[in-house]
């Protein structure tokens, strides 16, 4: 997949996460073109932010489950990452229930996530590049969320999840020979 194609997929993936995750944003026809940053800027309360984050985590579970089935990430990383993304989703769903919200429906078809089916059908490198884009977008989402979350406990959870996504990026970058830690400040922006 070309760099432009990956960036397009990233925007589309992010847009889908917004549509799946945030009720207020789902109505927007412009959602597929929004960046994660836009999404969290528009989510004006903790529940909306958590709901959007659940959407992204559920997509990540689906993506890594597809990777594990196709052995697209070595040494069991696909299964491990899918399990960790599910742990994030579970914690966020519990938090959303505490806030009186309802978790968004889980995506079940890889075709619901732009770029995933192609990446899953490609080489290990193709999948790693797709996953790097996805994880980078997720890191950006959490980075934005840390400025907006009001509940300190939710903030702590977001910080610890974002650090885990950054660790996934290390493994993915190393898998394709990239610098595992290229930036002193990990924001998901301009990477």
């Amino acid at each position: 997949m070309s760099a432009a194609g990956l960036e397009r997929s990233r925007r589309e993936v992010v847009g889908l996460g917004i549509a799946a995750g945030a009720t207020a944003l789902a109505a927007s026809t412009a959602a597929p073109l929004l960046t994660v940053s836009d999404a969290f800027a528009q989510a004006d309360d903790d529940a909306s932010i958590v709901e959007a984050a659940i959407g992204l985590e559920q997509q990540a579970v689906l993506a890594y489950t597809a990777a594990a089935k196709g052995d697209k990430l070595g040494r069991g990383s696909g299964r491990l990452f899918a399990r960790q993304e599910q742990e994030h989703a579970d914690v966020l769903i519990a938090a959303l229930k505490d806030l009186g919200g309802t978790a968004p429906e889980r995506p079940s078809n890889p075709r619901e996530i732009p770029g995933l089916a192609e990446a899953a059908a490609g080489s290990q490198d193709d999948f790693a590049r797709f996953a790097i884009e996805f994880e980078t977008a997720t890191v950006q989402a959490y980075y934005e969320a840390t400025a907006r979350l009001k509940d300190p406990k939710l903030l702590s959870a977001a910080v610890s999840i974002m650090a885990n996504e950054a660790q996934h990026l290390v493994v993915l970058r190393q898998a394709i020979g990239q610098n595992p830690s290229p930036h002193a400040f990990v924001t998901g922006q301009g990477e």
Partner: protein, 207 residues
């Protein structure tokens, strides 16, 4: 150091390895981040305009105190990567030089932020003072294990500090640094032949 994690977050209570961590914190000269929480707690009332102004000033002072605590740990990491470099080879030498550069960037950013808040940034101790408190480093693995401990300690400190910062841009900057330290941990774990992403929630707990 307390971490104040959400009760529904797995493994959110307590930190194994606390003894070693306390040693590092002493070595770094860290005044605990928890003390900053006390400052915030003491200025929680904001009835009336003058009280709001007072809260804002106290919040800035509190933010500077929190940032100084993590700055001390950045200085410690800089000293450790500097001391360990002669024992490293190949990829790990190259990566540790990058990590050292990144820790320096963190320290510089924290110093600037503290100054902007009207505070005084702590100064680093001399290299000799730091080295006096370091464990004996004889091999590459010694250096990697020591660096891993320091990075985990820093993550625990940032995790405790971030919710206590009142300014949202400071919370974001600290989060961006915390994620970079988490990356360092994954690289170091891999170099030591350990699982690189051992936990879904990265809190600085020993893996």
């Amino acid at each position: 150091m307390a971490n104040d994690l959400d009760p529904w977050l797995p493994g959110g209570h307590g930190h194994p390895g606390g003894h070693k961590r306390r040693d590092f914190l002493r070595l770094a000269g860290v005044t605990t981040v928890a003390s900053a929480a006390t400052i915030f707690a003491a200025c929680g009332s904001d009835d009336g305009e003058s009280a709001k102004t007072t809260t804002s000033e106290a919040a800035r002072e509190g933010d500077a105190t929190v940032l100084n605590a993590v700055l001390d740990l950045e200085y410690l990491a800089i000293a450790a990567y500097t001391a360990g470099a002669p024992l490293l080879k190949g990829d790990m030498l190259r990566l540790s030089r990058e990590f050292l550069g990144q820790e320096r960037q963190h320290a510089a950013a924290l110093e600037r932020a503290i100054t902007r808040l009207g505070g005084t940034a702590n100064k680093a101790k001399s290299e000799t003072e730091y080295r006096r408190g370091f464990p004996r480093l004889r091999t590459q693995d010694d250096v990697l294990r020591f660096a891993l401990d320091l990075e985990q300690t820093a993550i625990a400190a940032y995790a405790g500090a971030i919710p206590k910062l009142s300014a949202r841009e400071l919370r974001q900057s600290a989060t961006a640094i915390n994620a970079n330290e988490a990356e360092h941990v994954s690289v170091l774990l891999g170099a030591l032949g350990k699982p690189q992403v051992p936990a879904a929630f990265v809190t600085g707990t020993r893996s």
